[in-house]
């Protein structure tokens, strides 16, 4: 089920890219695609983690609802009204921000407050940020669809905005992966990958945003980051198998092992990054 939720938007993106369309439309497809992957990652991840937390607080169901709605809207590729879509994007932003606040409050009230042990094991501080990113990318896609094709200024503005969102999102995701991989003591050398490649991607994209000129390296880095997100899920599946009982004991080990749905958030962000590049590239000769 989780696999399908990730595969569908990817297929849609490929179909749309193959079709001749305006640069804005194509970029919007990258953003919705990225947002859909991100939403799928948030949905599966918060479902597992909040299930593990027994939904002790009723609000813990909110990210599941919001991410589901985002997945439908973004995965549905424009088949919903702008108004409906906007409500969903705003809701994602609001739930994400609320989650950031709630997680911060939750960690702060533990014994020892923000000491490392709590940062490693209590509510992950940055995780709800992925839902904020989902809302932002969805909203950018919506705005793009409204904008007049070929308009140079909006293209530059939205390209830069989207690029900044993606670069910032990558940086946050790197921080999260870094913290949790530190918790695992980087026991597998592959655990260094998400703190090596995506930071370069984020930097390269940030530089492109600042200069308003895409560098030739960025697409390669984005592609590597997107691939890494999928490879990460596979690595995490292997990690689950290394717990006692392996996959035979999946009901326990999916919760105890590394989160399989988390790494594809890199993939979602990287897909959106391609959209940003498209806009930046097209700013002068669109």
């Amino acid at each position: 089920m989780r696999g399908r939720s990730l595969a569908l938007p990817l297929v849609r993106i490929l179909l749309r890219i193959a079709r001749p369309a305006s640069r804005e439309a194509r970029a919007a497809t990258f953003f919705t695609g990225g947002a859909a992957v991100l939403a799928g990652s948030v949905l599966a991840d918060s479902a597992t983690e909040h299930y593990r937390g027994s939904f002790r607080n009723p609000a813990m169901v909110l990210p599941l609802l919001s991410a589901s709605a985002s997945l439908i809207i973004n995965g549905g590729g424009g088949s919903f009204s702008r108004k409906t879509a906007d409500v969903v994007h705003v809701a994602a932003g609001a739930v994400g921000l609320g989650g950031l606040g709630f997680h911060a409050w939750n960690v702060g009230r533990q014994t020892g407050g923000y000491r490392l042990g709590n940062l490693l094991y209590k509510a992950p501080l940055g995780a709800p940020g992925a839902l904020v990113l989902t809302g932002l990318l969805g909203a950018i896609a919506g705005a793009l669809r409204e904008s007049r094709a070929g308009a140079v200024v909006p293209r530059l503005v939205t390209g830069r905005a989207a690029g900044a969102v993606v670069a910032f999102g990558l940086a946050g995701t790197v921080a999260e992966a870094g913290l949790l991989h530190f918790r695992g003591a980087f026991h597998n050398p592959a655990m260094w990958l998400p703190v090596s490649i995506p930071p370069l991607t984020a930097l390269s994209l940030a530089r492109d945003v600042a200069r308003a000129i895409p560098s030739p390296a960025t697409p390669y880095l984005l592609a590597m980051t997107a691939t890494l997100g999928l490879a990460g899920a596979a690595f995490h599946a292997w990690g689950v198998s290394r717990n006692m009982g392996g996959w035979r004991n999946w009901r326990q080990n999916l919760l105890a092992g590394p989160p399989i749905p988390a790494p594809p958030s890199f993939t979602g962000l990287a897909i959106a990054g391609f959209g940003a590049l498209l806009l930046l590239k097209g700013r002068t000769h669109g």
Partner: protein, 546 residues
Amino acid sequence: MAEDDADIRCAGGRAPDPLVPGGWLEMREYGEEPVDFVIVGTGAGGAPLAARLAEAGFSVVAMDAGPFWRPLEDFASDESHQSKLFWTDDRIVDGDDPIVLGSNNSGKSVGGSTVHFAMVSLRFRPDHFRSRSLLGYGADWPIDWREMWDYYREVERVLHISGPVSYPWGPKRPRYPLRAHPLNAAADYLARGAEALGIDWAETPIATLSAPIGKAHPCVYRGFCVTGCSTNAKQSALVTWIPRALRAGAEVRDRAMVGRIETGPNGLATGVHYHRGGQWRFQRARAVIVAGYAIETPRLLLASATADQPDGLANSSGLVGRNLMIQLNQAAWGQVDDEVRSYKGPPSLAVSEHWNYRDEGKDYHGGWSYMSQGPLPVTWAKTLAGGRGLWGRELLDEMERANHSVGLKMVGEALPNAANRVTLADETDQYGLRIPRVTHSYSDNERAMMRHATRFMEDSLKATGARETWREMGDTCHLGGTARMGFDRTTSVVDADCRSWDVPNLWICDGSVFPTVGGVNPSLTIQAIACRTADRIVAMSRQGAL
């Protein structure tokens, strides 16, 4: 399961692979030809030596009286069944305060008591290696703390200790190989109490994996740690040093009870008599290492007396068997509203070493640490019945509330006292060997420490809102001191290298060589000394000084 618990498993060129159900590891066998080293005991002292000496190219046979387990298939989640890990052979205990032997101070398995230890892996406070000179009590160790610090590091790496990133006490130490485990609720109560009383606390450096390593799974927080870890997250000697020893060409003999060390006309050890498979056998060796812990080690030395050494082997100082030290294991308990379920996860996830490092405000010598607790049901029932005197309806009612009970337990330094000792009784055991008599009495110093510690721990519990607090005064843990190391042959049994002063090819390497026991669990220190001894043996061998 094809094999029976009672089987000899190390034979036919193979030994069990403790990390794989039904698995085997290739094992070199030496027969009864003379080997370079025969090691008696495969726990925290013997197992590192077996691995390190075999890796250095020596021929090694390591014997253990206990069986060779594969925890994944041999261990049950059942406290009573798992008492199979304890050394429950006959002993006589006496003195004013006889020690309860058999569970938390013994082990009869390949891997020794590390197969069921609580995994707490603390370093000695540096000053405690020179307590006589610096603090005015006990005895100095002949080893410098800085050297020990390096060996601690080696052992921490081998055991993949999970520990806090910054440790609040003592000299700066390198980062632990793995991150600390999450605190369970019982540990959280220790932390909250410490914060309320304004002292430091930390996640306990602990020898159970917080990440998968090799074939070993990470900890599943099952909580059966002190009855044997069936996950193999616990980094016992059985799953760490022993496979390493086998791979390096050491032979391990399970269910081999050594009854006597033989000496030749020149006074040197020539091998050991051991009981295995229903008969007595003799293993010839160029050197013997005794690593049977603080009761079996002096028992074996005393039982190996000769006409030339009538008081026991290596006993010209008269100190073999003397200065037996326990560690104080008193506790404070209380009731709280929250559901604590303290048995979830390793029992001692949080620690305070405050009173190991602070000397002011004490009316006694020595240090102590205290840890959160997680007793399993049978243990808890015994604690309530024995330590608190509850029985019948009262006991049942209290057991009903077990999920809301929370406690703190100390590991406290008892001082060496020559009157506390291991001797041989006239009765014999199932092997026909004389039973050890273990004589123990507390001194006023220990009583003062107990009073202070239990009061402090009770205050800590009260500071977290615990009610109906009470003190458990009866328990002890860990042993040491019956073959102490020292600076000269008149005041010690072995030198800093764990080599007997009297018998140059006899070595003693386990908790019995401790001149003092400090306020921390001993397993890390025993393994560190074993690694140092291995290095010293290799160095002396190169210099032709063996």
